[in-house]
Symmetry: none
Subunit: 150 residues, 2 copies
């Protein structure tokens, strides 16, 4: 998977007489290992965790190339990139987050996807991605909150 992606990227780079460097390979790997949305900071953290010392400036310079190569897709709102996500390869899921302890539960519910496409279509939009997080209180925190409720 990862290798395949880097090969795709290499082909893209060579087509533009750009170089397929080791740093770029590391970045592609880190990106492909990501699931769901991620931002610059999370990506850099991942790289650091893997011992890759790519400077932020480099990552900032490489991301647009990955976008042009069709490997990642950015969500751009008002001219700014809010987050990226890999353009293929993983199942999509949304998040249910506990606003008190921060616990995150991933879920996938096809009905949402269907309705989302329906809404987009109704307005003539071509849907490219979505941001869907449910915020609530998890069972543990609810128990903690009401220790002795009847």
């Amino acid at each position: 998977m990862t290798t395949q992606s880097f090969e795709k990227f290499t082909a893209f780079l060579h087509g533009k007489s750009l170089r397929a460097t080791t740093v770029r390979e590391s970045i592609v790997k880190a990106v492909m290992a990501r699931k769901g949305h991620f931002n610059m900071d999370e990506l850099v953290r991942d790289l650091r965790a893997q011992g890759v010392e790519a400077s932020r400036a480099t990552v900032y310079r490489v991301m647009p190339l990955l976008v042009k190569a069709g490997i990642v897709q950015p969500t751009v709102v008002s001219g700014k990139i809010h987050h990226y996500e890999t353009a293929f390869g993983h199942k999509h899921h949304d998040h249910l987050i506990c606003g008190e302890c921060g616990k995150v539960v991933e879920f996938h519910f096809e009905a949402f996807e269907i309705l989302q496409r329906e809404v987009a279509a109704k307005h003539g939009f071509e849907l490219t991605s979505h941001y869907h997080e449910l915020i609530g209180v998890c069972p543990d925190c609810r128990a903690r909150r009401r220790p002795r409720e009847s």
Copy 2:
């Protein structure tokens, strides 16, 4: 309307022994005069246009108060405030955003709310709020993209 909002804000402020100042009144007015979504920069521009010389720092400090007072509602994406909108005068809605030109279409689809509660309940969560933004390409941008597609 405007006056009414400032009174609401005044009540909120006094309840917390904070001051109802003229600068704050100007900010509430500017906010209420806004229709739809706006960001910090647009708001400050509006203030400047009305001859109000509130410093950015002050506006940045006042907005959280307006949020707490229930006068404006922020849309938060990835932990950052993407935009604000006045909290009343319109029903709850989600957003369909054009990733290319930034156009925002509001929609309300009860089925989403029902399914969201269902998902939360399935995991034992008590749902408190949600972020739901659909990102896509609007009809205009699609046309612009493919000028002469069959």
